[in-house]
Protein backbone atom coordinates (compact mmCIF):
# COMPACT_ATOMS: atom_id res chain seq x y z
CA UNK A 1 0.00 0.00 0.00
CA UNK A 2 1.47 3.31 -0.96
CA UNK A 3 2.45 5.76 1.71
CA UNK A 4 0.68 8.44 -0.31
CA UNK A 5 -2.68 6.82 0.20
CA UNK A 6 -2.13 6.75 3.95
CA UNK A 7 -1.40 10.45 4.04
CA UNK A 8 -4.75 11.32 2.51
CA UNK A 9 -7.62 12.63 4.60
CA UNK A 10 -10.62 10.36 5.09
CA UNK A 11 -12.78 12.35 2.73
CA UNK A 12 -10.24 11.94 -0.08
CA UNK A 13 -9.78 8.24 0.63
CA UNK A 14 -13.54 7.85 0.31
CA UNK A 15 -13.34 9.19 -3.25
CA UNK A 16 -11.18 6.17 -4.06
CA UNK A 17 -13.41 3.74 -2.16
CA UNK A 18 -16.28 4.99 -4.26
CA UNK A 19 -14.36 3.90 -7.36
CA UNK A 20 -13.88 0.39 -5.99
CA UNK A 21 -10.34 0.71 -4.61
CA UNK A 22 -9.88 -2.09 -2.06
CA UNK A 23 -6.66 -0.59 -0.64
CA UNK A 24 -8.43 2.69 0.05
CA UNK A 25 -11.20 0.78 1.81
CA UNK A 26 -8.59 -0.97 3.94
CA UNK A 27 -7.37 2.41 5.17
CA UNK A 28 -10.88 3.43 6.17
CA UNK A 29 -11.23 0.10 7.97
CA UNK A 30 -7.94 0.54 9.82
CA UNK A 31 -8.80 4.05 10.91
CA UNK A 32 -12.32 3.40 12.12
CA UNK A 33 -12.79 -0.29 12.89
CA UNK A 34 -11.81 0.02 16.57
CA UNK A 35 -14.42 2.72 17.21
CA UNK A 36 -16.97 0.80 15.14
CA UNK A 37 -16.32 -2.47 16.95
CA UNK A 38 -16.39 -0.78 20.35
CA UNK A 39 -19.81 0.71 19.64
CA UNK A 40 -21.10 -2.58 18.22
CA UNK A 41 -19.81 -4.47 21.26
CA UNK A 42 -21.38 -2.02 23.67
CA UNK A 43 -24.73 -2.38 21.89
CA UNK A 44 -24.77 -6.10 21.12
CA UNK A 45 -23.12 -7.27 24.32
CA UNK A 46 -21.43 -10.24 22.70
CA UNK A 47 -18.30 -10.56 20.63
CA UNK A 48 -20.02 -12.55 17.89
CA UNK A 49 -22.87 -10.06 17.67
CA UNK A 50 -20.39 -7.18 17.47
CA UNK A 51 -18.43 -8.96 14.72
CA UNK A 52 -21.55 -9.53 12.64
CA UNK A 53 -22.65 -5.92 12.96
CA UNK A 54 -19.17 -4.54 12.21
CA UNK A 55 -18.75 -6.79 9.18
CA UNK A 56 -22.15 -5.91 7.84
CA UNK A 57 -21.60 -2.19 8.38
CA UNK A 58 -18.22 -2.11 6.63
CA UNK A 59 -19.40 -4.20 3.68
CA UNK A 60 -22.37 -1.89 3.37
CA UNK A 61 -20.00 1.07 3.45
CA UNK A 62 -17.88 -0.52 0.73
CA UNK A 63 -20.89 -1.17 -1.45
CA UNK A 64 -22.54 2.18 -0.89
CA UNK A 65 -19.56 4.49 -0.63
CA UNK A 66 -21.19 6.81 -3.13
CA UNK A 67 -23.69 7.74 -0.46
CA UNK A 68 -21.11 9.43 1.69
CA UNK A 69 -21.61 13.17 1.61
CA UNK A 70 -18.82 15.15 3.20
CA UNK A 71 -21.13 18.12 3.64
CA UNK A 72 -23.09 16.13 6.20
CA UNK A 73 -20.25 15.20 8.51
CA UNK A 74 -17.03 13.30 8.96
CA UNK A 75 -16.37 9.81 7.64
CA UNK A 76 -16.11 8.62 11.24
CA UNK A 77 -19.58 9.93 12.09
CA UNK A 78 -20.92 8.29 8.94
CA UNK A 79 -19.29 4.95 9.76
CA UNK A 80 -20.55 5.01 13.33
CA UNK A 81 -24.01 5.98 12.12
CA UNK A 82 -24.09 2.89 9.88
CA UNK A 83 -22.90 0.68 12.75
CA UNK A 84 -25.55 2.16 15.05
CA UNK A 85 -28.35 1.54 12.56
CA UNK A 86 -27.22 -2.00 11.87
CA UNK A 87 -26.96 -2.79 15.56
CA UNK A 88 -30.43 -1.38 16.21
CA UNK A 89 -31.80 -3.52 13.39
CA UNK A 90 -30.11 -6.59 14.84
CA UNK A 91 -31.31 -5.87 18.38
CA UNK A 92 -34.86 -5.28 17.26
CA UNK A 93 -34.87 -8.48 15.21
CA UNK A 94 -33.80 -10.50 18.18
CA UNK A 95 -36.53 -11.79 20.43
CA UNK A 96 -36.81 -10.24 23.86
CA UNK A 97 -35.26 -13.39 25.24
CA UNK A 98 -32.21 -12.91 23.07
CA UNK A 99 -31.75 -9.24 23.81
CA UNK A 100 -28.67 -9.28 25.87
CA UNK A 101 -26.74 -6.29 26.95
CA UNK A 102 -23.11 -5.39 27.18
CA UNK A 103 -21.40 -7.17 30.01
CA UNK A 104 -22.85 -10.64 29.73
CA UNK A 105 -19.59 -12.03 28.45
CA UNK A 106 -17.69 -10.76 31.43
CA UNK A 107 -15.07 -8.11 31.60
CA UNK A 108 -12.26 -10.55 30.83
CA UNK A 109 -13.57 -10.74 27.28
CA UNK A 110 -12.70 -7.12 26.77
CA UNK A 111 -9.35 -5.85 25.92
CA UNK A 112 -8.50 -2.23 25.70
CA UNK A 113 -7.54 -0.77 22.39
CA UNK A 114 -3.94 0.27 22.36
CA UNK A 115 -3.51 4.00 22.33
CA UNK A 116 -0.75 4.16 19.82
CA UNK A 117 -0.94 7.51 18.23
CA UNK A 118 -1.56 11.11 19.11
CA UNK A 119 -4.87 10.88 17.33
CA UNK A 120 -5.90 7.95 19.51
CA UNK A 121 -4.70 9.75 22.63
CA UNK A 122 -6.77 12.79 21.68
CA UNK A 123 -9.76 10.56 21.09
CA UNK A 124 -9.29 8.99 24.48
CA UNK A 125 -9.44 12.39 26.05
CA UNK A 126 -12.58 13.22 24.09
CA UNK A 127 -14.12 9.92 25.15
CA UNK A 128 -13.53 10.95 28.75
CA UNK A 129 -15.28 14.25 28.06
CA UNK A 130 -18.31 12.46 26.61
CA UNK A 131 -18.45 10.03 29.54
CA UNK A 132 -18.20 12.95 31.96
CA UNK A 133 -20.99 14.78 30.17
CA UNK A 134 -23.20 11.69 30.40
CA UNK A 135 -22.40 11.09 34.04
CA UNK A 136 -23.36 14.61 35.08
CA UNK A 137 -26.87 14.24 33.66
CA UNK A 138 -29.70 13.51 36.09
CA UNK A 139 -30.02 9.72 36.37
CA UNK A 140 -33.43 9.57 34.67
CA UNK A 141 -32.13 11.46 31.60
CA UNK A 142 -28.97 9.39 31.36
CA UNK A 143 -31.00 6.20 31.65
CA UNK A 144 -33.34 6.94 28.74
CA UNK A 145 -30.48 8.08 26.53
CA UNK A 146 -28.53 4.88 27.21
CA UNK A 147 -31.56 2.62 26.76
CA UNK A 148 -32.36 4.29 23.45
CA UNK A 149 -28.92 4.75 21.94
CA UNK A 150 -27.06 1.70 23.21
CA UNK A 151 -30.03 -0.56 23.96
CA UNK A 152 -31.84 0.03 20.68
CA UNK A 153 -35.18 0.43 22.44
CA UNK A 154 -37.83 2.74 21.03
CA UNK A 155 -39.28 5.55 23.13
CA UNK A 156 -42.53 3.58 23.40
CA UNK A 157 -40.72 0.49 24.69
CA UNK A 158 -38.80 2.59 27.19
CA UNK A 159 -42.01 4.23 28.39
CA UNK A 160 -43.52 0.79 29.01
CA UNK A 161 -40.38 -0.46 30.71
CA UNK A 162 -40.20 2.52 33.06
CA UNK A 163 -43.97 2.82 33.41
CA UNK A 164 -43.88 6.48 32.42
CA UNK A 165 -45.80 8.41 29.76
CA UNK A 166 -44.17 8.51 26.32
CA UNK A 167 -44.16 12.31 26.46
CA UNK A 168 -42.10 12.20 29.65
CA UNK A 169 -39.56 9.85 28.09
CA UNK A 170 -39.22 12.00 24.98
CA UNK A 171 -38.82 15.08 27.17
CA UNK A 172 -36.03 13.43 29.17
CA UNK A 173 -34.22 12.45 25.98
CA UNK A 174 -34.40 15.95 24.60
CA UNK A 175 -33.38 17.66 27.83
CA UNK A 176 -30.53 15.24 28.44
CA UNK A 177 -29.12 15.69 24.95
CA UNK A 178 -29.49 19.44 25.21
CA UNK A 179 -27.44 19.46 28.41
CA UNK A 180 -24.85 17.15 26.91
CA UNK A 181 -24.57 19.38 23.88
CA UNK A 182 -24.00 22.39 26.12
CA UNK A 183 -21.32 20.52 28.07
CA UNK A 184 -19.51 19.22 25.04
CA UNK A 185 -19.43 22.63 23.48
CA UNK A 186 -19.72 23.21 19.82
CA UNK A 187 -17.04 21.54 17.78
CA UNK A 188 -14.94 20.47 20.73
CA UNK A 189 -15.58 16.80 20.26
CA UNK A 190 -14.89 15.68 16.74
CA UNK A 191 -16.45 12.30 16.32
Amino acid sequence: MGQDLRSLADEDVMQLVRRGDARAFEIIYERHSAAAFSLAYRMMGTRSGAEDVTQDAFLSLWRSGARYDRARGSVRTWVLGIVHHRAIDALRRATVHDRRRAGDEGIEERFEAAERTDVEAARREEAGTVRDALSTLPADQCQVIELAYFGGFTHTEIAEMLEAPVGTIKGRMRLGLKKMRAQLGEGQVAV
Binding site: L59, R92, R93, D98, F153, T154, G167, K170
Partner: protein, 232 residues
Amino acid sequence: MTMTDHDRWADSAGAYVLGAMTPRERDEFEHHLETCPACREDVDELRPAAEALPMASPPVLPPPALKDRIMAEVEREAALLAQAGPAADRPAAERPRRRFHFPALTGWRLAPVAAALLIAGVLGGVLLTGGGSRTVSAGPNAQIHIDGDNAKLVAQNMSPPPEGRVYEVWIVPKGETAPKPTNVLFVPRSDGSAEAAIPGSPDDIAKVLVSDEPPGGSETPTGDVVMQAELS
Protein backbone atom coordinates in the same frame (compact mmCIF):
# COMPACT_ATOMS: atom_id res chain seq x y z
CA MET B 1 -59.26 21.45 20.30
CA THR B 2 -57.33 19.93 17.46
CA MET B 3 -53.81 18.69 17.64
CA THR B 4 -51.49 20.26 15.11
CA ASP B 5 -48.81 18.24 13.37
CA HIS B 6 -46.21 20.05 15.44
CA ASP B 7 -48.00 19.27 18.72
CA ARG B 8 -47.94 15.62 17.78
CA TRP B 9 -44.18 15.69 17.34
CA ALA B 10 -43.33 18.02 20.22
CA ASP B 11 -40.17 16.89 22.02
CA SER B 12 -39.54 14.16 19.43
CA ALA B 13 -36.18 15.45 18.17
CA GLY B 14 -34.29 13.67 20.97
CA ALA B 15 -35.90 10.32 20.24
CA TYR B 16 -35.20 10.85 16.54
CA VAL B 17 -31.48 11.57 16.82
CA LEU B 18 -31.08 8.67 19.28
CA GLY B 19 -32.65 6.26 16.77
CA ALA B 20 -35.46 5.55 19.26
CA MET B 21 -38.29 5.53 16.73
CA THR B 22 -39.79 2.71 14.72
CA PRO B 23 -39.03 2.96 10.98
CA ARG B 24 -42.55 4.17 10.39
CA GLU B 25 -42.35 6.90 13.04
CA ARG B 26 -38.99 7.93 11.66
CA ASP B 27 -40.40 8.30 8.15
CA GLU B 28 -43.34 10.29 9.43
CA PHE B 29 -41.15 12.54 11.54
CA GLU B 30 -38.81 13.15 8.61
CA HIS B 31 -41.83 14.11 6.57
CA HIS B 32 -42.83 16.54 9.34
CA LEU B 33 -39.28 17.97 9.42
CA GLU B 34 -39.66 19.08 5.83
CA THR B 35 -42.24 21.63 6.90
CA CYS B 36 -41.28 22.42 10.50
CA PRO B 37 -38.27 24.73 11.01
CA ALA B 38 -38.63 24.51 14.82
CA CYS B 39 -38.20 20.74 14.86
CA ARG B 40 -35.37 20.95 12.31
CA GLU B 41 -33.59 23.40 14.57
CA ASP B 42 -34.08 21.03 17.51
CA VAL B 43 -32.66 18.13 15.53
CA ASP B 44 -29.65 20.17 14.42
CA GLU B 45 -29.00 21.21 17.99
CA LEU B 46 -29.27 17.73 19.51
CA ARG B 47 -27.59 15.69 16.79
CA PRO B 48 -23.97 16.48 17.78
CA ALA B 49 -24.67 15.16 21.29
CA ALA B 50 -26.06 11.90 19.92
CA GLU B 51 -23.15 11.62 17.48
CA ALA B 52 -20.69 11.93 20.37
CA LEU B 53 -22.29 9.03 22.29
CA PRO B 54 -20.30 6.23 20.59
CA MET B 55 -17.22 7.67 22.25
CA ALA B 56 -18.64 6.68 25.62
CA SER B 57 -18.23 3.00 24.64
CA PRO B 58 -15.29 1.27 26.33
CA PRO B 59 -12.64 0.72 23.65
CA VAL B 60 -12.44 -2.85 22.39
CA LEU B 61 -10.25 -3.99 19.53
CA PRO B 62 -11.81 -6.05 16.75
CA PRO B 63 -10.17 -9.45 16.18
CA PRO B 64 -7.72 -9.55 13.24
CA ALA B 65 -9.73 -12.38 11.67
CA LEU B 66 -12.62 -9.96 11.20
CA LYS B 67 -10.49 -7.75 9.01
CA ASP B 68 -9.37 -10.80 7.02
CA ARG B 69 -12.97 -11.83 6.38
CA ILE B 70 -14.06 -8.36 5.35
CA MET B 71 -11.04 -7.75 3.13
CA ALA B 72 -11.46 -11.14 1.42
CA GLU B 73 -14.96 -10.17 0.39
CA VAL B 74 -13.96 -6.62 -0.58
CA GLU B 75 -11.09 -7.87 -2.73
CA ARG B 76 -13.30 -10.44 -4.41
CA GLU B 77 -15.82 -7.74 -5.27
CA ALA B 78 -13.12 -5.28 -6.35
CA ALA B 79 -11.75 -7.91 -8.75
CA LEU B 80 -15.21 -8.48 -10.21
CA LEU B 81 -15.65 -4.77 -10.55
CA ALA B 82 -12.33 -4.43 -12.36
CA GLN B 83 -13.34 -7.25 -14.72
CA ALA B 84 -16.62 -5.52 -15.42
CA GLY B 85 -14.66 -2.51 -16.62
CA PRO B 86 -15.00 1.18 -16.03
CA ALA B 87 -18.44 1.35 -17.60
CA ALA B 88 -19.90 -0.82 -14.88
CA ASP B 89 -22.32 0.93 -12.64
CA ARG B 90 -20.65 0.76 -9.28
CA PRO B 91 -23.60 -0.07 -7.02
CA ALA B 92 -24.81 -2.70 -9.42
CA ALA B 93 -21.48 -4.40 -9.69
CA GLU B 94 -22.03 -7.12 -7.22
CA ARG B 95 -24.82 -8.49 -5.21
CA PRO B 96 -23.59 -9.42 -1.75
CA ARG B 97 -23.10 -13.10 -1.44
CA ARG B 98 -25.47 -14.70 0.97
CA ARG B 99 -23.58 -15.34 4.13
CA PHE B 100 -25.74 -18.27 5.01
CA HIS B 101 -27.38 -20.74 2.77
CA PHE B 102 -30.66 -22.37 3.20
CA PRO B 103 -29.59 -25.87 4.21
CA ALA B 104 -27.62 -24.39 7.05
CA LEU B 105 -30.56 -23.36 9.12
CA THR B 106 -28.70 -23.23 12.38
CA GLY B 107 -29.34 -19.99 14.16
CA TRP B 108 -31.65 -18.73 11.49
CA ARG B 109 -32.89 -15.93 13.68
CA LEU B 110 -29.43 -15.23 14.95
CA ALA B 111 -27.95 -15.24 11.49
CA PRO B 112 -25.62 -12.41 10.64
CA VAL B 113 -27.03 -9.10 9.74
CA ALA B 114 -25.92 -9.33 6.13
CA ALA B 115 -29.25 -10.34 4.70
CA ALA B 116 -31.32 -7.99 6.76
CA LEU B 117 -33.29 -5.18 5.32
CA LEU B 118 -31.75 -4.97 1.92
CA ILE B 119 -34.06 -2.30 0.72
CA ALA B 120 -34.14 -0.68 -2.62
CA GLY B 121 -31.29 1.38 -3.82
CA VAL B 122 -28.61 -0.60 -2.07
CA LEU B 123 -28.34 -2.90 -5.01
CA GLY B 124 -29.29 -1.47 -8.33
CA GLY B 125 -29.12 -4.69 -10.26
CA VAL B 126 -27.35 -7.91 -10.79
CA LEU B 127 -24.26 -8.34 -12.85
CA LEU B 128 -21.93 -11.23 -13.31
CA THR B 129 -24.28 -13.80 -11.85
CA GLY B 130 -24.63 -17.07 -13.62
CA GLY B 131 -27.72 -19.16 -14.15
CA GLY B 132 -31.09 -18.30 -15.57
CA SER B 133 -33.33 -15.61 -14.25
CA ARG B 134 -37.09 -15.77 -13.81
CA THR B 135 -39.88 -13.83 -12.15
CA VAL B 136 -42.63 -15.34 -10.02
CA SER B 137 -45.82 -13.49 -9.08
CA ALA B 138 -46.36 -12.82 -5.38
CA GLY B 139 -49.77 -11.19 -5.85
CA PRO B 140 -51.11 -8.31 -7.92
CA ASN B 141 -48.46 -5.84 -6.75
CA ALA B 142 -45.40 -7.96 -6.11
CA GLN B 143 -42.97 -10.28 -7.78
CA ILE B 144 -40.04 -12.43 -6.76
CA HIS B 145 -37.09 -12.00 -9.09
CA ILE B 146 -34.85 -15.03 -9.09
CA ASP B 147 -31.41 -14.83 -10.59
CA GLY B 148 -29.14 -17.78 -10.07
CA ASP B 149 -28.72 -18.26 -6.37
CA ASN B 150 -30.40 -15.01 -5.38
CA ALA B 151 -34.03 -14.08 -4.95
CA LYS B 152 -35.47 -10.64 -4.36
CA LEU B 153 -38.98 -9.50 -3.55
CA VAL B 154 -40.05 -6.39 -5.45
CA ALA B 155 -43.35 -4.70 -4.61
CA GLN B 156 -45.24 -1.70 -5.93
CA ASN B 157 -48.23 0.19 -4.51
CA MET B 158 -47.89 -1.72 -1.26
CA SER B 159 -49.93 -0.43 1.69
CA PRO B 160 -47.97 0.45 4.79
CA PRO B 161 -48.25 -2.12 7.59
CA PRO B 162 -50.76 -1.36 10.37
CA GLU B 163 -49.64 1.18 12.98
CA GLY B 164 -46.73 -0.13 15.03
CA ARG B 165 -46.14 -3.17 12.77
CA VAL B 166 -43.56 -4.08 10.13
CA TYR B 167 -43.57 -6.62 7.32
CA GLU B 168 -41.69 -9.83 7.83
CA VAL B 169 -40.58 -12.27 5.12
CA TRP B 170 -41.22 -15.98 5.79
CA ILE B 171 -39.95 -19.00 3.93
CA VAL B 172 -41.44 -22.46 3.61
CA PRO B 173 -38.56 -24.82 2.80
CA LYS B 174 -39.13 -27.56 0.23
CA GLY B 175 -40.65 -30.65 1.81
CA GLU B 176 -41.99 -28.68 4.77
CA THR B 177 -45.27 -26.97 5.49
CA ALA B 178 -44.58 -24.53 8.33
CA PRO B 179 -43.19 -21.09 7.46
CA LYS B 180 -39.85 -20.28 8.97
CA PRO B 181 -39.04 -16.73 10.09
CA THR B 182 -36.26 -14.81 8.37
CA ASN B 183 -34.50 -11.76 9.66
CA VAL B 184 -35.81 -9.70 6.75
CA LEU B 185 -38.16 -7.03 8.06
CA PHE B 186 -39.20 -4.04 6.01
CA VAL B 187 -41.56 -1.14 5.60
CA PRO B 188 -42.43 0.09 2.08
CA ARG B 189 -41.32 3.53 1.00
CA SER B 190 -43.84 6.34 1.05
CA ASP B 191 -44.61 5.66 -2.64
CA GLY B 192 -45.52 2.05 -1.82
CA SER B 193 -42.46 0.48 -3.41
CA ALA B 194 -40.24 -1.98 -1.58
CA GLU B 195 -37.47 -4.44 -2.24
CA ALA B 196 -36.21 -7.13 0.08
CA ALA B 197 -33.61 -9.83 -0.42
CA ILE B 198 -34.86 -13.35 0.25
CA PRO B 199 -32.29 -15.23 2.32
CA GLY B 200 -31.20 -18.68 1.26
CA SER B 201 -31.01 -20.36 -2.10
CA PRO B 202 -34.22 -20.19 -4.16
CA ASP B 203 -33.67 -23.85 -5.09
CA ASP B 204 -34.39 -24.86 -1.50
CA ILE B 205 -37.49 -22.71 -1.06
CA ALA B 206 -41.04 -23.85 -1.82
CA LYS B 207 -42.87 -20.70 -0.83
CA VAL B 208 -42.23 -17.12 0.27
CA LEU B 209 -44.76 -15.28 2.44
CA VAL B 210 -44.99 -11.75 3.82
CA SER B 211 -47.07 -10.84 6.87
CA ASP B 212 -47.34 -7.87 9.19
CA GLU B 213 -45.68 -8.43 12.56
CA PRO B 214 -44.59 -6.43 15.58
CA PRO B 215 -41.26 -4.56 15.28
CA GLY B 216 -38.49 -7.09 15.74
CA GLY B 217 -40.50 -9.77 13.96
CA SER B 218 -42.15 -12.94 15.23
CA GLU B 219 -41.21 -16.60 15.44
CA THR B 220 -44.52 -17.69 13.92
CA PRO B 221 -46.81 -15.49 11.80
CA THR B 222 -49.23 -13.43 13.87
CA GLY B 223 -50.53 -10.95 11.29
CA ASP B 224 -52.25 -11.09 7.93
CA VAL B 225 -50.38 -12.69 5.05
CA VAL B 226 -50.25 -9.90 2.48
CA MET B 227 -48.18 -11.65 -0.19
CA GLN B 228 -47.21 -15.13 -1.13
CA ALA B 229 -45.32 -16.76 -3.94
CA GLU B 230 -44.74 -20.36 -4.96
CA LEU B 231 -41.17 -20.75 -6.04
CA SER B 232 -41.46 -24.35 -7.12
